[in-house]
Amino acid sequence: MDYSEKVMDHFANPRNCRVMEDANGVGTVGNPTCGDLMTIYIKVEDNVIQDISFQTFGCGAAIATSSMITEIAVGKTVEEALQISRNDVAEELDGLPPIKMHCSNLAADGLQAAIENYKENNQ
C-alpha cells in the first residue's frame, strides 16, 4: 500500500491512542467484519474539546486517520469540530490511497458520533 510519510508516521507513532475513562462523549463507527472499527473519546468542557483519544482496529489508514483527527480536533469548539470532514483528515495526512478514501477514512464519522453522544448526554 502506497502510504504517505505522514500516514506512516501517524501509524507508527499514533497520537492519543488510549481509552479515556472520564470521557463525556464516546462514538464508535465502522464494522469489524469490514476490517475497521474505531472508537473516539472526547472530553468537552465549556463547549470546547479539551481532550480526545481513540481506539482503532484496522489498517494503517484507519489508525493514521484516527490519530490525525485527535490532533485536528483538540481545542476546537463542538461546532467547529463538527465541520471536520473526511477530506480534511485525508488532506492533513498528505492524501490516502484512493481505495482507502471511503473505506478506512472513518475518523470524521467517529468524531461526529462522539459529539452526538456528548450532546445526548448533556440534554
Binding site: T33, G35, Q55, F57, C59, I99, C103
Partner: protein, 402 residues
C-alpha cells in the same frame, strides 16, 4: 528477511548463470535451422527434459507457457472447449487460486456448470463429496495440489484415481507444491498439471503445463505452431532455460529442503502458538507444505501487522481485505468457516530453503510485540462491544464487504 516466498522467490545464482548466455549470445529463434537457432532448440530440449524429470513425465508431455495462470487457463478452457460436446460439467473446490476460479467463472458465463466442493475447517475436501458431485456430464475435475494461502495439501492421488476410473480428466494446479513436496504425474494419476518457474527460484514470466499423452486440449494462443501447436509464440528461451535449471535443482534437493523447511516451520508454529495469546494456526496441521504457515491473531488487522513487521525488516503477507486491491477478505480463509473478523487478523509466512540465517525466536518475539501493540490500540481486544448497535457509516458503492 524475506518471508513471502509463496508470492515469489529470488532467482538463484545458478539459475541466473545458466540463463545469461541466452540473452545476448545465444539469441537464436529455436524454430530456425541454422546453428544459432539449433543451439536455442537444444537448450529448450534440455529444459523440457529437466521439467519432465522433475515430475516423472515424458519430455513430449511438457509445453512451456508464460506461467501458472496461463497453464491453468489452458488446462481448463482447453479441456472444456475440447470436450464440450461430451458434457459441460466441471468439479473444483472453493479454495482455488484466482487463475482457476476466475477461469471457471468465465466458463460459467458460457453455460458450463461448475460444482465448487467445500473444504473442512482445515481446508481439505471430502472424497465422498467429490464422488457425489460426479455426473454423466462431468468432463473435468480441477483441484489444486497445495493451497497458496494456507499451504494445505489435497489428496490428489485419490482424486486422480477416481477421475481415471470414471473417465474424467483431472487437472491440478501444482504451482505451490512443486519443488516443496513430491509431484509425480504417473503415481498421482494426473492428466494436466500447471507449473510456475518463479515460485522455485526461477525467473518470472515462464511456466509449463503437463498434458498426458493422449489428452487433447484446444489451444488458447494460435499462431506459428510452436509447442506442437498447443502454445504458439516464439519461445522465451532464457526464461525456459532458467526454469529448466530451477526444476533440476528443486528436484535434486527436494528431500533435503523438505527436512530443513519443515523443521523451521514446526518450530515457528510451536513458538507462535505458545508465546502469543489467542493465536491460531490456519489450515491442516499435518497435510501442509513444508514452507508455509498461516496464523490468525484475535482482534487485530493484518495490514497493520504487515506494516509493523516490515518496519522491523520482515516481509510477509495477509489475507485481510484491507491489504487486497479489491478490499475483499480472503475467500480461502472464509471457506474454512472463519469469522470475517478473524480473517482480517491473518498472517502468511512462506519460507525459502535459503532461510538459513532465520532466527525463529527473534521473529516470534517481533510478531508478539507487534500483535501486543495493535491489541493495545484495538477496541476489539479489551472491551465488550455491542456490535449490533454500532453504526457502519461506510455503506456506499465502494464498500462491497458490508
Amino acid at each position: 528477511m524475506y518471508l513471502d516466498n509463496s508470492a515469489t522467490t529470488q532467482v538463484s545464482q545458478e539459475v541466473f548463470k545458466e540463463m545469461e548466455p541466452y540473452f545476448t549470445q545465444e539469441f537464436g529463434n529455436p524454430s530456425t535451422l541454422y546453428k544459432i537457432g539449433r543451439e536455442s532448440k537444444k537448450a529448450l530440449d534440455l529444459a523440457r527434459q529437466r521439467v519432465a524429470d522433475a515430475i516423472n513425465a515424458k519430455p513430449e508431455e511438457i509445453y512451456f507457457t508464460s506461467g501458472g495462470s496461463e497453464s491453468d487457463n489452458l488446462a481448463i478452457k482447453g479441456i472444456a472447449f475440447k470436450l464440450a460436446k461430451k458434457g459441460k460439467h466441471i468439479i473444483t473446490t472453493n479454495i482455488e487460486h484466482p487463475a482457476v476460479k476466475n477461469t471457471l467463472g468465465f466458463l460459467e458465463s458460457l453455460d458450463f456448470k461448475v460444482t465448487y466442493l467445500p473444504v473442512n475447517e482445515n481446508g481439505i475436501i471430502s472424497i465422498d463429496d467429490l464422488k457425489a458431485a460426479i455426473t454423466d456430464e462431468t468432463i473435468l475435475i480441477t483441484v489444486m495440489h497445495a493451497n497458496n494461502e494456507i499451504g494445505t495439501v489435497q489428496p490428489i492421488e485419490e482424486i486422480g484415481k477416481i477421475a481415471r476410473e470414471k473417465g474424467i480428466k483431472f487437472h491440478t494446479d501444482a504451482v505451490q507444491s512443486f519443488g516443496k513436496i513430491e509431484v509425480d504425474v504417473e503415481k498421482q494419476n494426473i492428466d494436466l498439471l500447471s507449473l510456475s518457474s518463479h515460485k522455485i527460484n526461477g525467473p518470472k514470466g515462464v511456466g509449463a503445463i503437463y498434458i498426458k499423452k493422449g489428452t487433447r486440449v484446444v489451444p488458447l494462443i494460435h499462431g506459428g505452431g510452436q509447442e506442437k501447436g498447443i502454445r504458439s509464440g516464439t519461445e522465451n528461451v532464457p526464461g525456459i532455460v532458467g526454469f529448466g535449471k530451477a526444476c533440476e535443482l528443486a528436484a535434486n534437493q527436494l528431500d533435503e529442503h523438505y527436512e530443513k523447511l519443515s523443521s523451521i516451520r514446526d518450530e515457528l508454529i510451536e513458538k507462535v502458538l505458545t508465546t502469543i495469546p489467542e493465536a491460531y494456526l490456519n489450515g491442516d496441521k499435518d497435510n501442509r507444505l513444508p514452507n508455509l504457515v498461516n496464523f490468525r491473531f484475535k482482534a487485530i488487522e493484518g495490514e497493520s501487522l504487515i506494516l509493523l513487521l516490515d518496519a522491523k525488516g520482515y516481509q510477509a503477507s495477509t489475507g485481510s481485505a484491507c491489504s487486497s486491491n479489491t478490499l475483499e477478505a480472503s475467500p480461502v480463509l472464509t471457506a474454512l468457516g472463519l469469522d470475517p473478523v478473524d480473517v482480517h487478523g491473518s498472517l502468511r509466512i512462506s519460507l525459502a530453503p535459503e532461510s538459513d540465517a532465520f532466527d525463529v525466536d527473534e521473529f516470534v518475539e517481533t510478531i508478539a510485540e507487534a500483535v501486543k501493540r495493535l491489541r493495545q490500540m484495538s477496541p476489539l481486544w479489551n472491551q465488550e462491544l455491542d456490535y449490533d448497535n454500532i453504526m457502519c457509516k461506510k455503506h456506499d458503492d465502494t464498500c462491497r464487504k458490508c
